[in-house]
């Protein structure tokens, strides 16, 4: 099965913007969390996101903290599933490349090739699999490349220098730098580990480095972007979604971060 690759490729898109001096912003949304969930994607894009992480919910979200767990659980109870989420994505045009974030179980059950082809068919240009370490990439690496999907690897504060090099070399699109030794979730301030890790990664790779986990406020975003090329924001936005905020309201949160970043790094 080959899919038509549509839209902008993730890697060049981010790299171009980064090289132009822009700090990157990657807000997260759990696919299928509400009936109107794709409206949030449009709002994110409108608010200045550079890519959007779309979570495909899995029943065993080991990397996620309470908020994203709740969102996944809710989406699943609503009957969300990979096929329907991708079908929804195929119908929206957000204008920026999308990145899917999901667990390896959902990838391998369809087979890496089919899964990646399906992503591509829905216009998704990036894939993050947080429970798939670089040692276990197996056929997914080739399948993603073949489908034109960037397989974004994850680095952590505990990664050894050798592993950071390996991750930097084999990642595509960008590198997702986990800011802290913890699950996803809102934190009071950016962990010290974030700066150290981002610094090491910048040595190890020329790819954009996005810092995630615990980025909740414009101030966090600014602090994170000081050491990295940009930030990923998840739980803070999902909390708002779960609390019933509209696409426009949550979009405004993203816009505030965009604003803070653009102001801090003109």
């Amino acid at each position: 099965m080959t899919a038509t690759i549509s839209g902008t490729a993730l890697g060049p898109h981010l790299r171009r913007r980064r090289d132009a001096g822009r700090k990157l912003l990657a807000p997260y949304l759990t696919g299928g969390v509400r009936a109107d969930w794709t409206d949030y994607l449009l709002a994110y894009a409108e608010a200045g996101a550079d890519t959007i992480e779309v979570g495909l919910p899995f029943s065993e979200p080991v990397v996620d903290g309470p908020t994203v767990q709740e969102a996944s659980h809710l989406a699943l109870r609503r009957g969300a599933n990979v096929r329907d989420i991708l079908a929804d994505l195929r119908r929206v045009r957000v204008g920026i490349p999308l990145t899917v974030m999901t667990y390896y179980h959902l990838v391998q059950r369809e087979g890496a090739e089919v899964f990646c082809a399906n992503l591509a068919g829905a216009g998704v240009r990036g894939l993050i699999v947080p429970d798939l370490p670089v040692d276990e990439l197996g056929t997914l690496e080739r399948a993603a490349t073949a489908a034109g999907v960037d397989l974004v690897l994850v680095a952590a504060p505990s990664s050894t220098p050798a592993r950071l090099r390996e991750i930097g070399t084999r990642s595509r699109g960008f590198v997702y730098a986990v800011s802290v030794m913890a699950p996803t979730g809102v934190r009071d301030e950016l962990a010290d580990t974030a700066g150290v890790l981002a610094g090491q990664l910048k040595q190890a790779t020329d790819l954009p480095v996005l810092l995630g986990f615990g980025i909740a406020t414009p101030a966090h975003a600014v602090a994170g972007a000081h050491v990295a090329d940009g930030v990923a924001v998840g739980s803070a936005l999902m909390r708002a979604v779960l609390d019933g905020e509209s696409p426009a309201q949550v979009g405004a949160r993203v816009a505030a971060m965009r604003d803070a970043l653009d102001r801090a790094y003109p």
């Binding site: 899995f58 029943s59 390896y104 391998q108 059950r109 429970d131 690897l153 592993r163």
Partner: protein, 403 residues
Amino acid sequence: MGTVAAQSPALLPAAGLMRDPGGTGRFGEFGGRFVPESLIPACAEVEEAFRQAWSDAGFRQDLDRLLAVYAGRPTALTPAWSLSAELGITLLLKREDLAHTGSHKINNVLGQALLARRMGRTRLIAETGAGQHGVATATAAALLGLGATVFMGEKDMARQELNVHRMRVLGAEVVPVTSGSRTLKDATSEAMRHWVTCVDEAYYCLGSVMGPHPYPWMVREFQRVIGTEARAQCATELPAAIPDYVVACVGGGSNAAGTFAGFADTTAQLIGVEAAGGAAIADGRVAVMHGHRSYAVQDEHGQILEAESIAAGLDYPGVGPEHAHLHDIGRARYVTVTDDEVLAAVRRLARAEGILPALESAHAVAWVIRAAEGGELPPRATVLLTLSGRGDKDTATLLEVAR
């Protein structure tokens, strides 16, 4: 998973079966280390420490001494005199119910707790369903002067109030898990999430042959003592030295793995008995969950289902990766029994032998009864059955069912 490969002689006994799965922790296509990058160094450190410890005579001596003077090993091998006569077979029971804390779980936690101490860790983390592994972990932690944090689904905590209190009396902190189905699988995820936050100080003491490499292998090695003892005891009890069948219940699969390990290189047929309500091998498909690739029961969309068994310890939708492999190559057979068969088996063993088995262990008994009475076992077949735990913990359940 419908078809069960017939025991083909070509596949047995494979040299090197149930040995070191190498650096990638693979059992055929199963196993591996599917954890967040954050946990990779911690897992690697555990693997490295285990490899060193396991080849260190001093560590083995310390563990052997604890197993003997503390946990009560070797456990007895009891001929089931009456039930054997009724069934026309020779049934031998490996009595893990007599081990300290009431099941085989202690074998594993003593090994891991010693390892944790050797690694300089000061606290154990564990997941628990019914509370058996939690109690065992709390026990080993108390013994070795370590802290213990046990994650337990809120639903399970309500169902197993007494085990919660046992853990607390032993000094453990029991943390309620409120996410997902609020049962064992969620507790496991939460324990892994927590471990990320404290890898330098805490050691994750996993309760069965599952999780990321080296856990499935390491836990099987710590449980191998069951099979090794049983093999030697069978040599004394049985004229043919090796039993025709080796049977154990399978939740995650640790008591079965430990038992099978002693007989993998023999002609014995290995039978793993799953709960019909949570049969990862019989009803499941390939899954990657909790750090490894194996089988698990899932819905049409690949979401993991909750298991539903009367035996809390088998209420886990997955199974250890080595069992998936043993199944695939046909070296072991995996069968299921229903809750009703299990309840009947509890009563039958209790009345015939004066042994009240754990509901988990009664799964193995139920299959032997069905297979013997249904003619699947040839007359005079010799059967080694691992009785993984005692039934005291289940008396309240039995009482409810009886009402």
